[in-house]
């Protein structure tokens, strides 16, 4: 008879955790989020990419356009997040690999909690930055539409004057979404298997 509580993980959980951990390393190099801009006079479109440690895409062009409505220019140096993010993502990745090695349920649940907390924190941080970017406008801006603010969407589409802004995960973000989904399923799987 099994008197001790089963504290180790199912083999599937260990394997998938290890794979998820490895996958998380890719978020260090892949773009995590992107904002696509479209306008009548930009048939070619404009894109801004957010990576773990830098910005990508046509940031300079977007900065050039935004000064008309008083939005502040975006510079990589202004983001303290870029110093920290690579380490946090790396840590999450290592955590995943360790989960497979340590083979303890509590370790696995801790990793999941860490992951969820991180995603929520990242989302909040991004939201507040977007809020500030869209509301904190230069009072001497040439184009002023009364009551108008330009907060880009956290996720999804929003029309801002002549520009349509579409905020959506980039390849790295999809990896994280996939990892998160796998982790959620595994949590359920682990809980169910206790019975």
């Amino acid at each position: 008879m099994n008197t001790a509580k089963n504290t180790s993980l199912k083999t599937l959980t260990r394997i998938l955790s290890a794979i998820a951990g490895l996958a998380m390393f890719s978020t260090l190099v892949l773009p995590i989020w992107k904002i696509e801009l479209t306008a009548p006079q930009y048939p070619e479109g404009l894109e801004m990419y957010i990576y773990a440690s830098k910005l990508g895409g046509e940031v300079d062009i977007i900065n050039g356009l935004n000064h008309y409505i008083g939005m502040h220019t975006i510079h990589e140096e202004d983001f303290a997040e870029f110093a920290v993010l690579p380490y946090v993502l790396g840590l999450l990745a290592v955590f995943g690999l360790l989960t497979a090695l340590v083979n303890r349920k509590w370790f696995f649940y801790l990793w999941c909690a860490f992951f969820v907390a991180f995603v929520v924190a990242l989302g909040l941080d991004f939201y507040f930055w977007l809020y500030n970017y869209g509301h904190n406008l230069d009072p001497t801006a040439p184009i002023q539409v009364p009551g108008m603010t330009y907060q880009p969407p956290l996720i999804g589409f929003k029309q801002l004057l002549n520009f349509g802004a579409f905020s959506i995960p980039a390849s790295g973000g999809w990896v994280m979404a996939a990892v998160g989904t796998v982790m959620a399923v595994l949590v359920g799987y682990e809980i169910k298997s206790k019975k």
Partner: protein
């Protein structure tokens, strides 16, 4: 009584009918679905680029085919006040020659660079027929990169024609003249004895396209008209049409039309190049300009060269690299078919078209089948080289191009038509009228080893009633034909700028994806570049003032400038800081005895200004760049000569206070 009346009335009616009888003139039905075949819907692209010579405009124009819409005029040999070409300090050197600054040119023919006998779309070569020069344009920016002057020449008509791998650009003089190291102060009537014709072989660097004159041939005094390279079996040979073998120097209309046959000059250029390399030529002392535009510094420099290697053909007859082939009658075009076996001489006063065979020519040379010589150069027997004559093709043939199915298309100026005939069988297949008097025609890739075919454009010399009238001076007229079927079908009529003499048509796909959109500001090595607004400044050196200025939507830095004086030479060095697509800025100064400059993203251009009065002089951006373009302006304060007003400058918070 009624019978008489009836007969009388019938007779009157018949006479009336007869009097309005006219011989049937040239009718041309436009094919039924022509509109659909030339319509390029909004947002779609034309299939083909046509680079069309501007003739007496001095420029090259670019048309989209099949729509016939003009895309752009490229400044090459004439000043262009719209862009500042030939007005900005950076581009003035492009128009320097050994005669000094020449603000205009006569642009006749074009050649797209080739690889393995096919258009590769890297460069476009253009000739200048007045002050002899050849230009090279970069087809990633559609700008003029280099111009080289041709010494010992006068006029440069038989040019530029290139070899199958763009080893050489070949240029033949139009007018024979004394060479630059000979005494030119002689009676004009000494033409036959003392004048010579120069044919120049310009070597092209395969990496960067840079040109240098490798050697020239000194030939008897005739006029050179057109030429083309051999291909395939005739690779290594070049063919030139000559006229005025009568050696007339006056009233050429009559005196150069006397002989029944002039010549096609066949030159084994590979052999000539070897002879030049082996030192068989001599160095002629002369002066000719070589102007190069550097994309990194956005600046052109001009240097005067003094030496050129000349091979005197009459001293090297035994080397066997030059032969004359008789050709009726004052030939204009010398055109080689895609297989390289046949070449056609279009004698503009002839009533037939001779087609020569290269293999027969080689045999005639081998058998020494000569009918004599012309100034020592062997003249091959006409019948020994002839493949056959196209009988009664039309009147006044000028120029022939080919499709990819063994057919030739010849333009007829006097009978105002294009005639399609089969190269091998010499049979006339179709003829279509042109409106009016076509000079040259172009088939897409029609002078290469692998023509694309499908479209033919006839470039006409007489317009008259083709379009809405525009006073006594009318635009030239071009006709677009679909040649994919047996019969040629007229699709479209369109007016052109200048006078197209020739064109090169190339499928758009070969060029359109290689286009530059901006110049990288980080690669800008201009002497007076400002890579940011912080780098702008105003510096005085005696009477010379250098203003380092930037333009970006929608302000100018600096836009307030004080301390300029009467008598100053002011240089505005303007950098466009944009790095986005289709964002040029313009710049102009009130009352400037100069044009404007147009500056593309990442470029720096300099506009010179000598202030004409004291007071406040505005400047502004001239190219609509943004919603606040009207706000993109500034002022200069000009003080009297010798005043001590200090130099102060800035924009916004940095502008000088009062």
């Amino acid at each position: 009584m009624t019978r008489v009346k009836l007969i009388g009335l019938t007779a009157c009616a018949a006479l009336l009918a007869l009097s309005s009888c006219k011989p049937k003139g040239a009718q041309s039905a436009v094919t039924g679905d022509a509109a659909q075949r030339v319509y390029v819907a909004p947002g779609q692209y034309d299939e083909v680029y046509s680079f069309t010579s501007g003739g007496f405009s001095g420029q090259v124009s670019v048309y989209g085919i099949p729509s016939g819409r003009m895309l752009k005029v490229l400044p090459v040999f004439s000043q262009d006040p719209e862009s500042g070409y030939g007005y900005s300090e950076e581009t003035k050197p492009m128009l320097m020659t050994s005669h000094g600054f020449v603000p205009w040119g006569d642009q006749h023919h074009l050649a797209i660079s080739q690889t393995n006998g096919e258009n590769d779309g890297r460069w476009l070569f253009a000739n200048e027929n007045n002050t002899p020069r050849v230009a090279r344009l970069d087809l990633t920016t559609f700008t003029t990169s280099e111009i080289i002057e041709i010494p010992n020449s006068a006029g440069n008509h038989s040019s530029p024609f290139i070899t199958e791998n763009t080893e050489y650009v070949v240029a033949g003089t139009r007018f024979s003249v004394p060479f630059d190291d000979e005494n030119g102060d002689i009676p004009i009537a000494d033409y036959a004895d003392k004048f010579s014709g120069a044919i120049s072989f310009i070597k092209v660097n395969p990496e960067n396209g840079r040109m240098n004159i490798d050697f020239q041939l000194k030939t008897p005094p005739v006029n050179y008209d057109l030429s083309h390279t051999g291909k395939g079996p005739s690779s290594g040979w070049f063919f030139f049409s000559t006229y005025n073998t009568e050696k007339a120097h006056t009233l050429l209309e009559v005196n150069a039309s006397q002989r029944d046959k002039d010549f096609i000059l066949a030159v084994n250029w590979k052999k000539a190049a070897e002879l030049a390399k082996a030192g068989k030529g001599r160095t002629v002392k002369t002066k000719y300009a070589h102007n190069v535009y550097d994309e990194g510094t956005h600046t052109a420099t001009s240097e005067l060269l003094t030496d050129v290697t000349v091979l005197d053909v009459k001293d090297l007859i035994d080397e066997g690299f030059a032969y004359y082939i008789p050709c009726p009658k004052s030939p204009h075009g010398t055109d080689v078919d895609p297989t390289g076996e046949y070449f056609v001489g279009s004698g503009k006063l002839a009533s037939l078209l001779p087609v020569f065979s290269f293999s027969k020519m080689m045999k005639a040379i081998e058998d020494k089948n000569y009918e004599g010589d012309f100034d020592g150069i062997p003249v091959l027997k006409y019948d020994a080289v002839l493949h056959g004559e196209v009988q009664k093709p039309g009147l006044g043939p000028l120029h022939t191009e080919f499709d990819n199915e063994g057919n030739a298309y010849t333009s007829f100026f006097v009978s105002s038509e294009v005639v399609k005939w089969n190269v091998k069988s010499l049979e006339v297949i179709d003829r279509q009228p042109t409106f009016y008097s076509t000079g040259h025609l172009t088939v897409v890739g029609g002078d290469t080893a692998k023509p694309y075919g499908k479209y033919l454009v006839a470039w006409n010399k007489i317009t008259k009633d083709r379009y809405l009238p525009t006073g006594p001076e009318l635009a030239q007229s071009a006709q677009l034909f679909d040649i994919s079927g047996t019969k040629m079908e007229l699709l479209l009529d369109f007016p052109t700028i200048g006078e197209p003499h020739y064109a090169q048509m190339i499928p758009a796909d070969k060029i359109k994806d290689n286009q530059k959109r901006i110049y990288d500001i980080n690669e800008n090595n201009h002497k007076y570049v400002s890579k940011s607004e912080d780098a702008t400044k105003v510096e005085r050196n005696g009477n010379r003032v250098d203003i380092y200025m930037t333009l970006i939507r929608s302000h100018i830095t600096p836009d307030n400038i004080e301390g300029i004086r009467m008598g100053d030479e002011v240089y505005f060095h303007v950098t466009n800081l944009e790095q986005d697509w289709d964002l040029p800025h313009g710049f102009a100064v009130m009352g400037n005895n100069n044009a404007e400059i147009l500056i593309l993203p990442g470029e720096t251009k300099t506009l010179k200004w000598n202030p004409t009065r004291t007071g406040i002089i505005p400047f502004y951006c001239t190219d609509f760049c943004s919603a606040l373009h009207q706000e993109m302006q500034g002022y200069v304060r000009v003080s009297p000569a010798g005043s001590s007003t200090p130099i102060r400058f800035g924009t916004g918070d940095k502008a000088p206070a009062n």
